[in-house]
């Protein structure tokens, strides 16, 4: 088991390295002068020069990369051009709303999608199945802000049940905190529900066709027991894989959702950075999110062995 974990962890190093190289090169790929781009269209030449020196853009590319990468490994993501603060501090400061939203979406989506998917697989081809599939296709097609504004219109403006936007930290009480997260969670959660429900359905249907399911039925096991113990556990690997890969979708959605509901999270930080052309912040956010994505998928990879012990012994 230990060797298996080590092998998997080592396998993520090249991916992280490629991500780092790519993010670093982005700034230089445009062919034009990064300092001039950051300075903006109406910048004085001295200003451009100052930025060039500040970012060390006058040094050879590989020196810049080694320097930057060494910093990143020590948690130094650079400094904001806008307010001179460390990008890592800016991100940490904005972390709570983003983590709160992401965790609540994952809990909501898994809790809704897996029962829906199992139900659809069990009733495959019947009305319930078709309804679940309609929800899935709709979920894929409704952009986050479309659903977000429809929900705000219905629940906040017409019914006046929930706040239109904003965020209350958890420290100020659970209910005020949760109230502000309900609509963002629903808006961002639907696409994730669609993704997981569809994979759960497909995966469970495949397992239900196996011989051991027929055996379980033949020996008189009750349907819930067959579905949950035999089918779902054996169908788990593609489902958790989808949950992990879906994190990428979720991260993109977080940026949009935070903008719709004015949540002061990392997504808002990114959007504010767009307007200010604060490239170091954007770069830092991408690096952190990509790292999270790789780590989550590593953990999911490792969890496979819980569902299927044979995996531990594979080469």
């Amino acid at each position: 088991m230990f060797a298996y974990v080590v092998r998997r962890v080592i396998a993520t190093i090249p991916v992280m390295f490629v991500v780092a190289v790519f993010i670093f090169l982005l700034l230089h790929l445009g062919g034009s002068d990064p300092a001039a781009i950051i300075a903006g269209d109406f910048a004085a030449p001295e200003h451009v020069e100052r930025i060039r020196e500040r970012l060390g853009l006058d040094r050879p590319l590989y020196v810049q990369f080694v320097d930057w990468f060494a910093g990143v490994l020590q948690g130094d993501l650079g400094t904001s051009i806008f307010n001179n603060r460390a990008v890592s501090d800016l991100i940490v400061q904005r972390l709570e709303p983003t983590v709160a939203l992401t965790v609540s979406v994952i809990i909501f989506a898994v809790a809704v999608a897996i029962p829906l998917g199992v139900l659809a697989a069990w009733q495959a081809g019947r009305l319930i199945d078709r309804m679940v599939m309609v929800v899935a296709v709709t979920g894929f097609s409704l952009p986050v802000f479309v659903l977000g504004y429809l929900l705000i219109l219905g629940f906040s403006i017409e019914l006046d049940l929930l706040p239109v936007q904003g965020y209350t930290p958890l420290a100020e009480g659970f209910w005020p905190f949760a109230r502000h997260l309900i609509l963002p969670t629903l808006s961002l959660g639907l696409i994730y529900v669609a993704l997981i429900a569809r994979m759960t359905r497909a995966s469970v249907i495949e397992v239900l066709n196996q011989d051991y399911i027929r055996t379980a039925r033949a020996k008189g096991l009750a349907t819930p027991s067959v579905l949950l113990v035999h089918a779902l556990k054996n169908a788990a690997i593609p489902i958790v894989t989808t949950i992990g890969l879906g994190i990428a979708l979720l991260i993109s959605g977080v940026v949009v959702t935070e903008t719709v509901f004015s949540l002061p999270g990392v997504g808002r930080l990114t959007v504010d950075a767009i307007v200010r052309k604060d490239y170091p912040v954007i770069q830092g956010v991408i690096l952190v999110f990509s790292f999270v994505y790789v780590v989550v998928n590593l953990l999911i990879d490792l969890s496979y062995s819980l569902f299927d012990p044979r995996i531990r012994y594979e080469r």
């Binding site: 490629v18 296709v137 993109s252 954007i282």
Partner: protein
């Protein structure tokens, strides 16, 4: 059951044309509705100037934030511009971006995928690069590219295409690797077929069907990405009306003038939905094996 035709019959051309279409429509009502919708949207954005639209960027301060009425079908925005005209013209941006990205991502992904499936050394390197690229959240990658490259339709197409390439590459590479194992390809190699001919005659035809289906999904996802980027202020130049831009501008006035946000939103959702329905329909019709797996 003799009159009910399967998708395979349709491809094979069994049954009269009308009967075939009737059967197909009865069996796939959502597909037909989706196609009608999509055609309407395409025609509407192509024929935008003759559909009773006004100049989509003409400012009229007297008409600010008017609710939908006979005069202003979808109401007006905070600068008194007709939301109806802006939404109809905005469809053009979505269609151009969606189709260009689908074409570019598919073409580039196809070439890289074929090479990766064939050259082992290239495969090892390029698939690491693709893994890395896939680990970067696509919207953030596009935001970074747009911030650096500046806002224009061309740059948007490039910024959305890059994160879409790995998925196409993986699909093509996977197909090449599995086709290569099949007996008829082995036979072709054994009988001395040159690689170029092998790819053209045996490998490409096998990959084309899943590729068309994938291209449809890429179109849908590119249309959403363009709307997200414009909504976040890193997309289509603000002076061009695109659905994301209209929503972004209407955001601040949502509580007093929700129509500015709602009309482009609904059109966006319907467009993406009908492209996705087209994709599902193509998948079920062209590739029954894949359909069964989903």
């Amino acid at each position: 059951m003799a009159t009910v035709l399967t998708p395979d019959d349709l491809i094979a051309g069994r049954g009269g044309r009308l009967v075939r279409f009737g059967t197909f429509a009865r069996r796939n009502p959502t597909f037909v509705v989706g196609m009608v919708l999509l055609s309407l949207l395409v025609v509407a954005s192509l024929a935008a100037p003759v559909l009773g639209t006004k100049d989509p960027i003409a400012i009229s301060v007297m008409d600010r934030l008017q609710a939908p009425s006979e005069e202003h079908l979808f109401g007006t925005d905070m600068m008194g511009r007709s939301v109806y005209s802006r939404v109809i013209y905005g469809g053009r941006v979505s269609l151009i971006v969606g189709l260009s990205v689908a074409f570019a991502a598919t073409a580039i992904g196809l070439v890289i995928g074929l090479l990766a499936g064939y050259l082992n050394w290239f495969d090892t390197i390029i698939m690491r690069v693709m893994d890395g690229l896939m680990a970067i959240p696509s919207i953030l990658l596009a935001i970074a590219l747009m911030t650096l490259a500046g806002s224009s339709i061309r740059n948007i197409i490039i910024a959305i295409t890059i994160p879409e390439i790995p998925r196409v590459t993986r699909l093509v590479r996977g197909m090449v690797l599995s086709v290569r194992e099949q007996p008829f390809v082995e036979a072709a190699i054994a009988s001395g077929t040159k690689t170029a001919r092998l790819v053209r005659r045996h490998i490409l035809p096998q990959t084309i069907t899943p590729l068309i289906v994938q291209a449809t999904y890429v179109t849908a996802s590119a249309i959403i990405s363009e709307a997200y980027l414009s909504f976040l202020g890193a997309g289509t130049p603000p002076e061009i009306p695109s659905w994301g831009n209209i929503v972004a501008e209407g955001r601040a006035f949502f509580t007093v003038a929700p129509w500015v946000v709602l009309f482009p939103s609904v059109l966006l959702a319907l467009t993406v939905l009908s492209v996705n329905i087209l994709g599902d329909g193509l998948r079920d019709t062209l590739d029954p094996r894949m359909a069964r797996r989903m």
